[in-house]
């Protein structure tokens, strides 16, 4: 059965230090909460390039193709001859395509954010409101019994204000 160990830090450098030591000690199930984005935490936890970018790319391609196709399909549905100009006029349709590229790029990026981050998540999860104000919080999932003692020690030695065992979804 797993146990969650939670450590609360006042200082960012101590929090990062604890995160690094836990990772080096083989703890992989880590949740780090902070009031601001910390790029060092991203590196320690192994977050590289986000998959969000694939959603953006897919959105822009679909938008570009869809926008152009919509304009062409409209022109072919209602043939509207204007002087000797072609029915399918490329320059104005590129503008429609351009706008749709951006629209779908934005919408797919939004979708990507939700898919990758796992939000919305309105269920009860371990959370300390102070970590959205001025505290840095670490939650470690320890699978083995004596593992949790090791995690507690690392967190305390790193300078945590408080260490506790908590129940709930990480």
């Amino acid at each position: 059965m797993s146990t969650n160990v939670m450590g609360i830090f006042e200082f960012e450098d101590e929090f990062i230090g604890a995160l690094r030591r836990l990772k080096e000690s083989g703890f992989d199930e880590l949740t780090a909460m902070s009031p601001i984005p910390l790029h060092e935490a991203d590196h320690i936890l192994g977050f590289g390039k986000s998959p969000v970018r694939r959603f953006t790319l897919a959105g822009t391609i679909i938008g570009a193709a869809g926008g152009f196709a919509m304009a062409v399909a409209t022109a072919l549905t209602f043939i509207l001859p204007t002087s000797g100009r072609p029915i399918i006029t490329i320059p104005p349709y590129l503008i429609i395509s351009y706008e749709m590229t951006i629209l779908f790029g934005v919408l797919f990026t939004l979708l990507g954010f939700h898919v990758v981050s796992g939000l919305p998540a309105w269920r009860d999860r371990i959370y300390l409101p102070a970590s959205n104000v001025d505290r840095f919080t670490l939650v470690v999932e320890c699978v083995e019994g004596d593992n949790s003692k090791l995690a507690e020690n690392i967190i305390l030695e790193s300078g945590a204000e408080e260490v506790s065992r908590v129940e709930g979804d990480r």
């Binding site: 909460m33 984005p37 991203d42 969000v52 006029t89 429609i96 934005v106 919305p120 309105w122 999860r125």
Partner: protein, 441 residues
């Protein structure tokens, strides 16, 4: 600013959330006045016009475009303040942006809504507005995508959607802070708004990537929106409008007007929401420098517009230019030059650019100049095209003047509602600009 004491993280939360959650009688009085003016000056005249027809405006056979469209350009222009500036400063990693961008983005959103309202007002039969949207309907009618007006519909819809998402996503961590600081119905609402945000490393990482993509997508979008608005005019053959310089002219004017708008809003937020610790002299000075640069570009384009018209040798263009520079609306033209080309140069003086009151005055004068610019473009071109038998005259009716005044109240109302629903200064981004919380400093 030797006496400046940096706030702590907790104070940032307290100050900004207090400004949002505690509402005094002054706020309610201002909101009430704003709603009243919006109702009396904007909506009642608009409903009257819907009843009697567009003839209630001063538009006529030779001047089929009037104040409604010039106001539309003005509000679209003002919308370029926030999202574009915020996005550019985000990807260039300019930290001074962080205290001001939220309100600037809100300006974008509400300016766009006000601009869209002017399209409805101008449209006359507003109940047919859905005909401009490419949705299947019982008549199998689809819009003509070769028309610049359809470019406009696509561009503005995209801009409104992208700006809304941009401001919303940037606010999610702050919605979580509101959730944590409140209870009852407000807590329930902000739990939904914040998507259950906890500030985990994964959430920050994903938001950072998504936000950067939003910024990268929004910049070319904003440039395209005002270029497309300019093509509504420039793609016609009307002398005074058929100019290739119109797209950069409109985009520059838009950013210029929007930046001045930010200065005005910053002054009001600082004074009335007690954000002195967050909106500081550095913001004023940097925005001032930007205004000088934009004013110089705008002036250059104006000179080029006159030069190329003269150089073309076209009698129609020269007639339109002469009417603009010396005709009935010439005082307005020269007022525009004074307010947008001359007055901003005062910002070069340090005493001016570090004074909130002086900068407020200059920012308001710039936007008066920009309203005039848009009015002149519309009012001096169509009534003066080609042969004298097509000449006419346009002067706005009382209805149009009233709706113009009312639009400012519509914008103010929306903004006042916004500052009570969304933290007007970004909590987490302000914290990023403070000294890091490190034991080993």
């Amino acid at each position: 600013m030797a006496d400046y004491i940096e706030p702590t993280y907790a104070e940032v939360n307290q100050d900004i959330l207090r400004a949002m959650m505690e509402t005094g009688p002054k706020y309610w009085a201002t909101l009430g006045a704003s709603i009243t003016v919006a109702g009396v000056c904007f909506f009642i005249p608009w409903f009257y016009q819907l009843e009697v027809g567009v003839g209630a405006s001063g538009m006529n056979r030779s001047a089929v475009w009037g104040t409604y469209l010039s106001n539309f350009i003005f509000w679209i222009g003002l919308s370029h303040s926030g999202t574009l500036l915020s996005a550019v400063l985000h990807i260039t990693n300019s930290s001074w942006r962080k205290a001001i961008y939220r309100s600037a983005e809100a300006m974008t959103l509400f300016s766009l809504i006000t601009a869209a309202l002017f399209v409805m007002v101008h449209l006359g039969r507003v109940w047919f507005v859905h005909w401009t949207v490419p949705i299947p309907n019982q008549m199998d009618l689809w819009p003509n995508f070769r028309s610049p007006l359809m470019f406009d519909v696509m561009a503005i819809t995209t801009y409104l959607t992208a700006s809304s998402i941009f401001i919303y996503m940037g606010s999610v961590p702050d919605f979580a802070a509101v959730r944590d600081a409140s209870n009852g119905l407000r807590r329930k609402l902000y739990t939904i708004f914040s998507f259950g945000w906890r500030g985990t490393a994964k959430e920050w990482h994903t938001l950072g990537w998504a936000y950067t993509f939003f910024a990268v997508l929004v910049i070319p979008l904003a440039v395209s929106v005002h270029s497309i608005v300019s093509w509504d005019f420039a793609l016609s053959l009307v002398p005074g409008l058929h100019h290739t310089v119109f797209a950069p002219y409109f985009v520059t004017g838009a950013i210029f007007s929007g930046t001045a708008g930010i200065v005005t809003v910053m002054f009001l937020l600082r004074k009335y929401m007690n954000f002195e610790r967050y909106i500081r002299e550095i913001h004023l000075v940097n925005l001032g420098k930007l205004l000088v640069l934009l004013s110089l570009i705008w002036t250059y384009i104006n000179i080029m517009e006159v030069f190329t018209t003269w150089f073309s040798g076209s009698s129609y263009e020269l007639e339109a230019l002469e009417w603009r520079l010396t005709g009935f609306y010439a005082p307005m033209y020269w007022e525009m030059i004074l307010f947008c080309a001359v007055v901003p140069m005062l910002i070069l003086f340090k005493r001016i650019r570090t004074s909130w009151k002086s900068m407020l005055t200059i920012s308001i004068l710039i936007n008066i100049g920009m309203i005039s610019e848009r009015f002149i473009i519309v009012a001096t071109s169509q009534p003066r095209k080609f042969l004298p038998n097509a000449f006419g005259f346009y002067f706005p009716s009382a209805i149009e003047i009233s709706i113009t005044i009312g639009s400012f109240a519509v914008f103010t109302t929306l903004f006042l509602i916004f500052v009570k629903w969304v933290p007007a200064v970004s909590l987490y981004e302000v914290k990023e600009t403070l000294k890091p919380l490190r034991r080993s400093r």
